[in-house]
Amino acid sequence: MAGFDKVVNTYEEAMAGLEDGMTVISGGFGICGIPENLIKEIKKMGTKELTIVSNNCGCDGLGLGILLDDRQIKKMVSSYVGENKLFEEQLLSGVLEVELTPQGTLAEKMRAAGAGIPAFYTATGYGTDIAKGKDVREFNGRKYILEESIPGDFAIVKAWKADRYGNAIYRHTAQNFNPMAATAGKITVMEVEEIVEPGELDPAQIHTPGIYVDRLIQGTFEKRIEIRTVREG
């Protein structure tokens, strides 16, 4: 690697340095736009005691759900985790800890981590269990709670195309949490469907500027569909 070329050639290189007990921020919504192969690599590495920050925990046999088999996850920070039997078992048996976080607050916590904002006020969750132990403050007659950012040791994201410098674009709603996750890792690893040369993407149309990306790898993706709904053609 020289200059701004972020490309690595193996998934081993992509996830090198991930250690037991680290916090990993992941992009994806449900199993849409998830870094499938980076997650598989974490499974292969067998890293344990991970805190995973991701809107969901995948589903059986795909996405973050596969890290449950060998009990690699100590704690999930998510807004919705209801798609996984093993998850339920580990939660009820106390093997797994879950910090439920409203979806918009979760997205903003990731953004804040990347943007050097340690905390922000939001009305979301005020007066609910989520607010327990959190600072409450009134602005213009309304009450808000203080939410802190969530920085990660690693961030793992999935984009559609990126140039070798890591300037990336996402495809359709596979964007979701990926742009914020990309900013929130000490080391951000991005996998994409296609790597192009710098200059091929329009500078004004980049979703994630390469400055946030440390390692870039091209992969192939299963892209399973969670709920296939169709209408008559």
Partner: protein, 218 residues
């Protein structure tokens, strides 16, 4: 007679206005999209990052990268935009969505809502519901008036963990359309053939009943 799910959706659709940006929750709220009045345009916001949700795709159009907040495959409508989850909730939290329709387990006379968790059962998470009820000014909650045992879901105070405190002003049940203010439920309309007495009986929270309660027409 109690409203059917479709009738509930039809009644809610009457609250739509031309040019409304609308977020529809899962279940009955989703059906509202089928009943947008003729000649009116609304744009559907899906909180995973899509404004301008179109119908389900045909088999040929199915794309794993294009889903809605319910994780179903969808399409984009003309004039749609796609963005990050942070931008999507900036829209929601910032009050830019004109109408939010969502289901609930319970609503109380202070306008608090419980919709995401039943202790003892598995905790699945609140998803975007807490953001939606905190961010929107104009929210319609839709649910059955009572549970299957006949217990009221319109309470003096919610018994389940809250999704939001003091944020709900309108509820449509299978029996009635109600507004919430001054710490009370106010009966506005009743389902065709449903008596005011039945609504009073099935409303546990304080209920204000005007002299005349019009029946909904379908």
């Amino acid at each position: 007679m109690a409203l059917s799910r479709d009738q509930m959706a039809i009644r809610i659709a009457r609250e739509l206005q031309d040019g409304y940006y609308v977020n529809l929750g899962i279940g009955i709220p989703t059906l509202v999209a089928n009943h947008v009045p003729e000649g009116m345009e609304v744009m559907l916001q899906s909180e995973n990052g899509l404004l301008g949700m179109g119908p389900y795709p045909t088999e040929d159009e199915v794309d794993a990268d294009l889903i809605n907040a319910g994780k179903q495959t969808v399409t984009t409508a003309k004039g749609a935009s796609i963005f990050s989850s942070a931008e999507s909730f900036a829209m929601i939290r910032g009050g830019h969505v004109d109408l939010t329709v969502l289901g609930a387990f319970e609503v109380d006379a202070q306008g608090s809502i419980a919709s995401w968790m039943i202790p003892g059962k598995l905790i699945k998470g609140m998803g975007g519901a807490m953001d939606l009820v905190a961010g929107a000014d104009n929210i319609i909650v839709t649910m059955t008036h009572a549970d299957k045992y006949g217990n009221s879901k319109l309470l003096p105070e919610c018994t389940l963990p809250l999704t939001g405190a003091g944020c709900i002003k309108q509820v449509l049940t299978d029996l009635a359309y109600l507004e919430i203010y001054d710490g009370k439920f106010h009966l506005v309309e009743r389902a065709p053939g449903v008596s005011v007495e039945e609504i009073i009986e099935k409303t546990a929270g304080e209920l204000v009943v005007p002299d005349h309660v019009p029946e909904m027409e379908f």
